[in-house]
Amino acid sequence: MRLINRQPGVALKSALAALPFLIAFVAYWIGSEIRLAANPSDKLLPAPETIAATAERLFTEPDRRSDRILLWHDTAASLTRLFLGVGIASVLATIIGLLIGLLPHVRATLAGFVAVLSMIPPLAVLPILFIVFGLGELSKVVLIIVGILPFLIRDLSQRVMEIPRETIVKAETLGASSLVIALRVALPQLLPRLIQAIRLSLGPAWLFLIAAEAIASEVGLGYRIFLVRRFLAMDVILTYVIWITLLAFLMDLALRWISRKLFPWTEAGL
C-alpha cells in the first residue's frame, strides 16, 4: 500500500500528535539534568520543577514593591494593545478590502500602493512610530496595525474579487445597488475569510507587540521578558513564553469556534 494511502487509527493519531510535545519536553529535561549535574546553580536550562514553582509564584504572589501580581497586569496591558491593534486593523482592512474588491476605480488607485506598502518591513519604521506617536500605548497599537494591515487588505480584497461574478450579477438583476451588494452580498461572504485572515496574522501581531514592548514600555508581557533577560531569569522567561503560547493558541481556538457559530453556511456543504 502506498504511504499516501495509509491512515493512522484514532488512538495512533492522538499518540502521534502528542509525540513531538513529549520529545521536546524530554529533550529539554535531559539537557537541563546534564547542565544542572555539572553546575547546580546553572541558570540557562532550569529544571521543569523550578519553572513550575516560578510559574506558581508569578501567577499568585504579588510583587513586593508594587504589591500587584505583575503577570496579570502584563497580560492585561499586552492583550489590550493586541486587541486594539488587531481590531482596528480588521475594521480598516474590511472596509478598504471591500472598496478595492468591488470598485474598479478604487482598485486602480490603491491596489498597487498597498502592494508596495506591504513590502515595507514594519520594524524598520518602528523608530518613526516612536518619534511620531510617542512612547505610550499609541505607538505600540500603531505598530501592530502597520504590521498586519497591508496583508489583511491584500488578502481580503483578493477574497472579494474571488466572489463569483455570477453572484454579483444575480444581485444586480434583483435590483441591488452597489451599497446593497457590498453590505448584503460581499460583506457576509467576506467575514468568515476575515476570521481566517486574522488567525493567520495573529502570529505577526504578537511579534510586533513584543518587539514594541521590548524597546519602550513599562508593562507588558514582552517588556517583562526583556527586563528579566538581564538577570538571566530563564524560569521567568520560559513561564512567560509558555503563557503567551497558550494565550495565542486559545485565541486561535476561539476564532475558529466563532467562525463555526456565526457562519454555519460555510460548512453546510461538508
Binding site: P164, T167, V169, A171, E172, T173, A176, R184, P188, W265
Partner: protein, 255 residues
C-alpha cells in the same frame, strides 16, 4: 409587436470577433432556446441580453426602454452555478428577491414579516417549503436551480435569461426541471431565453430555437470571423428538429 429587438449586434474582445450581424426580434411571452457549438457566442449573446456586457456595435432593446447599460430588475438570470447566495437560508434567498432593491437591502418590521410570508408561499409552490431554513449548500443541484429560478421570478423581471441552467444536473432531475419550468411559464407567461447544449431540451422547451454558428470559416485562422444566428427554427410544431426555417431571417445559408 416585437418585445425584444437585437439590431445588427457585433461583439469582439480585442481583435477577436465573437458575434457579427446578429439580428433577431422576439415577441412577448416567447420561449427562445439558443443552441450552438462551444465558443460560438451563445453565452456572449446572453450576457449582451443581460446587459452585463455592451455590444461593440448595434443595440438590444427590451420593450420601449433604451438599451440597458448594466443588469437590472427588468432582467432575471439563472446561471449554471453560483446563482443563489450561499450565506442566506433558502427562505432569505427568496426574500432577497424583493429586499435587495431596498435602500440597504433589508426589510424591517411588518414589511419583513410580509415578505417572509410571501417567500414561504413561493417556496411551497416550487416545492422547497421543507428546506426553508437550510443553506443552499445542503440542497441537491436540482433544488438549488429551482431556488435560483424562484428567486429570479420573485423580482418579477420582464425577461428571464437562463445560461445552461440544467447543464450540471442528472438526466432524471433535468426532466423534472423541464416540467417545473414549463409549469412556471404557463403561470407567468414570461419571455425566456435559454442557452443550452442539449438540442432535445432546446426543442422541447422552446417556441423558437436559435442556432449560433460561424457562417464564414477561415481554416487557417478559426478565430478570424464571429458567429451569428444561422438557423431560426419554429419549435412549436413539436417535431424534432425538422421544422421549417422561418422565412424572414437574414441567415447566410451554408453553401
Amino acid at each position: 409587436m416585437s418585445f425584444v429587438t437585437a439590431e445588427n449586434i457585433f461583439q469582439s474582445y480585442g481583435n477577436r470577433p465573437i458575434l457579427e450581424r446578429v439580428n433577431v426580434t422576439v415577441d412577448e411571452g416567447e420561449f427562445i432556446s439558443i443552441v450552438g457549438a462551444s465558443g460560438c457566442g451563445k453565452s456572449t449573446f446572453l450576457r449582451l441580453l443581460l446587459a452585463q456586457e455592451r455590444p461593440t456595435r448595434g443595440e438590444i432593446r427590451v420593450g420601449n426602454a433604451p438599451p440597458a447599460v448594466e443588469p437590472g430588475l427588468d432582467r432575471g438570470v439563472v446561471f449554471q452555478k453560483y446563482s443563489v447566495f450561499p450565506h442566506l437560508t433558502v427562505r432569505e434567498n427568496i426574500v432577497a428577491g424583493e429586499s435587495f432593491r431596498a435602500r440597504f437591502g433589508w426589510f424591517a418590521g411588518a414589511a419583513r414579516n410580509e415578505a417572509r410570508k410571501r417567500a414561504d408561499e413561493t417556496l411551497a409552490r416550487i416545492g422547497l417549503g421543507h428546506v426553508a431554513h437550510q443553506y443552499p449548500a445542503t440542497l441537491s443541484g436540482g433544488m438549488q436551480q429551482r431556488l435560483a429560478i424562484g428567486q429570479a421570478l420573485t423580482a418579477k423581471p420582464r425577461i428571464l435569461l437562463l445560461d445552461e441552467p440544467f447543464g450540471a444536473l442528472d438526466p432524471g432531475t433535468r426532466l423534472s426541471m423541464h416540467d417545473f419550468l414549463t409549469e412556471l411559464r404557463s403561470e407567468t407567461g414570461m419571455t425566456v431565453f435559454m442557452v443550452t447544449h442539449d438540442l432535445e431540451e432546446g426543442f422541447k422547451l422552446g417556441d423558437r430555437v436559435l442556432v449560433f454558428d460561424k457562417p464564414r470559416w477561415d481554416p487557417t485562422d478559426p478565430n478570424a470571423y464571429g458567429a451569428t444566428i444561422t438557423y431560426d427554427f419554429d419549435a412549436r410544431d413539436g417535431g424534432i428538429p425538422f421544422q421549417r426555417i422561418e422565412e424572414d431571417t437574414n441567415v447566410l445559408r451554408p453553401a
